[in-house]
Symmetry: C2
Subunit: 204 residues, 2 copies
C-alpha cells in the first residue's frame, strides 16, 4: 500500500478520481445497464426501496477534513481547503424488515479474486462490532469484467482478513464468492435488487 508523507493512503486520493471517472461514464452510457457503476445501481435500488416503503438505506457521505472555509457576502460558503479521510465505517447502512443492515460495496476489474486492500482496517473492525451486536452485515462485490455481483456475509470477509496475517493470502478468491456467497441475479427493476438476496439469506 502506497502512503503519502502525511500518512494518508494513496487510496483516499483515488476516491475523487473514481467519481470523475463515473461522471464521464454518465455522459457516455446514460441508458445502458452495462457500464453503470455498482454505486449508481445501488442508489437506484435504494431510491426504489425508499419509494416503496420497503427499506431506508443510504450511502454515507465521504468523510472529509475541512481546513479552510470562505464565506462570501451574498452566496453560499465555499470550502477552499479540505482533505479526504479514511472512512471508519462501511459506506451503507439502514433499516430493512425491522433490522439494522450494514454493508460495504466494492468493484474490481480482476477476474479470479478480490484484493483485501480494498478494505480499511477500521471498516473490518466496524463489521466485527456490527456482527457482535446482531446486525446484518455483508459486502457486495462486483467483478465488473465478469459482470457478476456477489453478496458475501461479513463473517467470511473477517475470516479472510484475520487469516492474511498467518497464511499471507491477500485476496478472497472468486471461488469463495461462488461457494460461500450468493450471486445477486435480478430480473426486472431495480437492476440490482439486492434486498431479494438479503431476504433469501437472512430471513428464510
Amino acid at each position: 500500500m502506497i502512503r503519502y508523507p502525511n500518512g494518508k493512503s494513496y487510496q483516499s486520493a483515488l476516491i475523487e478520481k473514481k467519481t470523475s471517472d463515473k461522471q464521464l461514464k454518465k455522459k457516455t452510457v446514460d441508458f445502458a445497464k452495462r457500464g453503470m457503476s455498482l454505486e449508481q445501481e445501488l442508489n437506484i435500488a435504494n431510491e426504489y426501496y425508499l419509494a416503496r416503503g420497503l427499506a431506508v438505506i443510504h450511502k454515507k457521505p465521504t468523510p472529509i477534513n475541512i481546513v479552510h472555509v470562505h464565506y462570501p457576502k451574498r452566496s453560499a460558503a465555499v470550502i477552499k481547503e479540505a482533505y479526504f479521510q479514511t472512512p471508519s465505517t462501511t459506506d451503507y447502512n439502514g433499516l430493512y424488515n425491522g433490522h439494522y443492515l450494514d454493508f460495504e460495496a466494492k468493484e474490481t476489474r480482476l477476474k479470479t479474486a478480490f484484493p483485501l486492500t480494498n478494505f480499511h482496517n477500521h471498516q473490518i473492525q466496524h463489521m466485527v462490532h456490527i456482527k457482535k451486536l446482531g446486525g446484518i452485515c455483508f459486502v457486495i462485490v462486483r467483478f465488473s469484467a465478469l459482470e457478476r455481483t456477489f453478496l458475501l456475509d461479513a463473517d467470511i470477509v473477517i475470516r479472510f482478513w484475520l487469516a492474511k496475517e498467518t497464511d499471507g493470502r491477500k485476496s478472497i478468491p472468486l471461488t469463495c464468492f461462488e461457494s460461500e456467497g450468493t450471486e445477486i441475479r435480478s430480473i426486472g427493476y431495480p437492476t440490482l435488487n439486492y434486498l431479494t438476496t438479503v431476504q433469501q439469506i437472512y430471513f428464510s
Copy 2:
C-alpha cells in the same frame, strides 16, 4: 449552522478497553467545567458504548458537493472547491440492543421553545420513513441556556411539523419536551448517557 466532520471518534474506540477508558476520562476532565457541546458529549458517549460493546452509533459525515480537487505529485489530494449540502437524513444512526436507532441532535439558546427551522424537510421525511418501518427514531434537544437536554420521540416532532402548516406554530414549546419527552439526566460516566433514557422509553 455548519458542522465539521469529526473523524477521531471511531479510532480511539478501537484501542484496548483500558486505554480508551483512560482517554475518555481524560477528555471529561479536560472539558468538564467548560460546557461541552452536545456533539462532543454525544461523541464521547458513542465511543464509550462502542468500547463497551453496547452499541454502534456514529455521526454521519457532513454531506459535501465536491467541485474541484487538486492532485499534487507528492502529497494528498486537496479539495479546492466544495459546498455544503443539505443533509437528507438525520445525523446519527446505528445499532442498539438489536434495533435500528436513528436520531438528530440539536442545541438552542432559547429558553422557552425549540424552533422547527432547525430541521430540514428531508430530515422530517426521513423520520417518517424510519418510524413507518419500525425503527427507533427521536431527537435530542439541548436547551443550553437552561443546561437541560431532552429526548423526544420523532412522532411528536412530525406532529408539530405537520401542524405548523395549519396552526402556524413554528416551534416546539419547552413544556412539550417536559410533558411528552424525557429529560436525559446522567449521573457518572458518560456525561450524556442517552442510551439509558432510550432503554427506559423503548425497552421497558
